[in-house]
Amino acid sequence: MGINDGVMSDCAVRDPDSGHESVRDTDLVQVRIPGHAAYIGIARQAVDAVGEQMGLSAEDRSAVKLAVGEACNNAVQYGRPGDPDTKGADLCAAAKSRMVFVACRLRSDALEIDVLNRGNGFHPVPGVYSMPKPEALAEHGRGLPLMEIIMDSVEYSNVDGSTLVRMRKQVTPPLAEPCLGENAVTC
């Protein structure tokens, strides 16, 4: 399995009535960022834009942004051991040494997000795993538990020497169109 699984060659479908193109199940949006904390915001914004286009609620979009941010934090922090220190000022070196891939798969009932980093990562237990919760005054260790609470599912796996975190956020059924006009009787 790879990060490109699920890519469709012709994602857009043209609505015969409106003429507009619309997305369909399993459309994929991908972002690749350098493995440095400075770029994680770009991945968050990209995924948030996808969530907005899907019509996710403000609450769900906040959850997705946070989960993606946390997964990227881990990918950057625990990326391939032995790489140059990415906390330094040399962003170019960091960019060359590690990359983080984020893929949003638009399904009819959910937004599915993969975050993949090269290297061994943080060695999560494959499958669905519940991380221990940190002590109240701990300064670290809240990222993965947060992800698991705010997303509908989080799975961890190792793919060809890389670490993959796959998360899902269910799409709440859209609300019915509001009734407009004083003569409207039924909706």
Binding site: A58, S62, G69, A136, L137, L146
Partner: protein, 112 residues
């Protein structure tokens, strides 16, 4: 790259840090540095105004906890102003609403 802007002012002797932007793994060191400088200068009762914050992650939360521990060691405290529902929810989920004093507005935070 989203930034974090920190403006510091003093209200009735209490330092108030007005944050705007994102408190994430990239920007948190800036917040840590500002809190440490104030606390080590003897101003250990801080108010952190998060009215302008639209994103905080676990690194940002950890930074605030670190600041609280440092302030507590000096007999101080950290009070947080957080009117944003989504940001408040992150404090709730992580149980940090029991660790920090969190207020809806500045008046309440400074009155405590």
């Amino acid at each position: 790259m989203a930034d974090l802007v920190i403006d510091t002012r003093t209200v009735d002797g209490t330092p108030v840090l007005d944050l705007s932007g994102e408190v994430d793994s990239y920007n948190s060191p800036k917040l840590r540095e500002r809190m440490v400088r104030l606390i080590d200068d003897g101003q250990s009762r801080l108010v952190i105004n998060m009215s302008g914050v639209d994103y905080i992650d676990s690194t940002g939360l950890g930074t605030l906890v670190g600041g609280l521990k440092r302030a507590s060691e000096k007999g101080g405290s950290i009070r947080i102003i957080c009117p944003n529902e989504q940001i408040h929810k992150v404090f709730s989920i992580t149980g940090l609403v029991k660790v920090f004093q969190i207020f809806d507005n500045e008046q309440s935070a400074l009155a405590t």
